[in-house]
Symmetry: C2
């Protein structure tokens, strides 16, 4: 699962489904998730659909997705007194461009879930869905 290439350790991700949103290009994407935003859906690839057993409408889940096309080299954004590091920002331009959103499931089928307010491009690859836990909801 983990290999060492040159001096850098890397691991591989599998894309397990796709996210449908209203946003067809980056300029149209909102800056962040919005709990009451437009309806979005996640369709899992066939081999992963069984993994949905036990989820219910109303559950809060953490969605992880892959922000393809990000600039993975940039470490600091802005300049001088305005400069902020990647880890102090939600920018997609980061070493591992994984998007994260905690949202409530508003619909459920055998093959996927519906939720409101994701901020990513239509067609974004899905990495994971997991229950949000108390510590995350403060």
């Amino acid at each position: 699962m983990t290999t060492k290439i040159a001096n850098q350790e890397v691991s591989k991700l599998n894309f397990i489904g796709r996210i449908t949103t209203p946003y067809q290009d980056i300029a149209a994407c909102p800056n962040n998730i919005t709990r009451d935003g437009p309806l979005c859906s996640i369709e899992l690839d066939l081999e992963y659909q069984q993994g949905l057993i036990g989820l219910n409408v109303g559950d809060s889940v953490l969605i992880l997705y892959w922000l393809a096309g990000a600039d993975r080299q940039v470490k600091v954004h802005g300049n001088d007194s305005e400069a902020k590091g990647t880890f102090a920002l939600r920018t997609p331009n980061r070493p591992n461009p994984i998007g994260a959103a905690i949202l409530e499931i508003v619909g459920l089928s055998d093959s996927g879930v519906a939720l409101r307010g994701l901020d990513c491009l239509n067609g974004t690859p899905l990495l994971d869905i997991k229950p949000a836990i108390m510590q995350e909801l403060k």
Copy 2:
């Protein structure tokens, strides 16, 4: 960044630092993060340390880390009426074994951050740190 291997699309992650926890083997790890748990620390690799600019003690951040050694094939856990899908559980055994925790920064240095209550093995590879946002904190 994204390649197509056989029929499966994959993307590569870079490990950007290491997490220090009190847990030297899997059996010792707690089942979940605990906000008031033991002191843990994250040390970033040198090339990523600049990315910390703008973070402060007291900030809530989402930490993403790589759960090496997970079984990535299992889709359903338990059996019959007790069965639950991977996506309804926080188990590390999932298609993309990315651990996630939202915690408060309790200490900060030029090379990393300190926080309490991470649930992962000592030496776990770090994938990302990003500010937790209002929607996640409900």
